[in-house]
Amino acid sequence: MTVRTIDVRERIMAKNDEIAARVRARLAAAGVPAFNLVSSPGSGKTLLLERTLAELGSEMRIAIVTGDVQTQNDADRLARHTDQLVQAVVTNGACHLDARQIDTALDAVDLAATDLLFIENVGNLVCPAGWDLGETAKIALFSVTEGEDKPEKYPKMFRMAHWVVFTKLDLLPHVPFSLSRAVDIARAINPTLDFLMTSALDPVGMDEWLGFCRAHARRGVPV
């Protein structure tokens, strides 16, 4: 018996990226922008989406795919604010969503009746950076209760993101967090980042974000 070597040299992410390309094509064909919300746990992704649904639900059709390691608590929270579909993906221990899960989840979403799709990824600043889901762009949430140096600690996520949404700005007077320093650190990692400031508990704290959603939603049939 002899040992034979088979040269492969294939990217391990190749299959995921192939499915992500298919997801991207499905979304493009339907004209639906899709944003992948990524952050550490507890940064406020679900609350931001709850407020977004409450404020914009009457003017545009927003579908959401949520990923959680266990439970569909986030999906249940969001479903209370909309008649549109909130699709829960329980990853059963996996620390990120992958393109296959999004491809499957989209089977249950009526894309022709969707103006904007949000994917709420698993709270984790490491793994979701490496998995293309076929989204239009990644949006990293960054709460002011975290350290300003988060982008230095998790550079890949901040390199992959197009926007950073600062959350919990209402807590700024109570925490030692310099917004300008955080912006500088993030820009040093990724000079093309754009920033949005939010405070989901402040009546006017959502204006900038809601404007962003309105600007990016598909111009579909009015609800």
């Binding site: 034979r4 990217r11 299959k15 793994c127």
Partner: protein, 86 residues
């Protein structure tokens, strides 16, 4: 942190290529870039566990470090039954 997901994908790729020959796999070479966000020892541990299970029969994971952020299934080593080549 997602080493197990990567290990599962490596095994899927190996099985896809080898089919019924998967049981003859003796080693799997995986190239891991220094900036790939993968902990090599953890990946080797996950692969070792998975390669013990059918259709594999205890193949050895070999982690190859390289510069950059690449992550590749580099090679598969299988035992050839020489009698079938006669």
């Amino acid at each position: 942190m997602h080493e197990m997901s990567v290990a599962l994908e490596v095994c899927r790729m190996a099985e896809e290529r080898l089919g019924q020959d998967a049981s003859r796999l003796v080693a799997v070479g995986v190239s891991v870039g220094d900036d790939a966000g993968i902990e090599p020892e953890n990946l080797a541990f996950c692969l070792e566990a998975l390669l013990e299970e059918p259709p594999f029969e205890g193949a050895e994971p070999r982690i190859l470090r390289e510069p950059g952020d690449g992550l590749h299934l580099s090679y598969l080593e299988i035992i050839d039954d020489d009698s079938s080549n006669d």
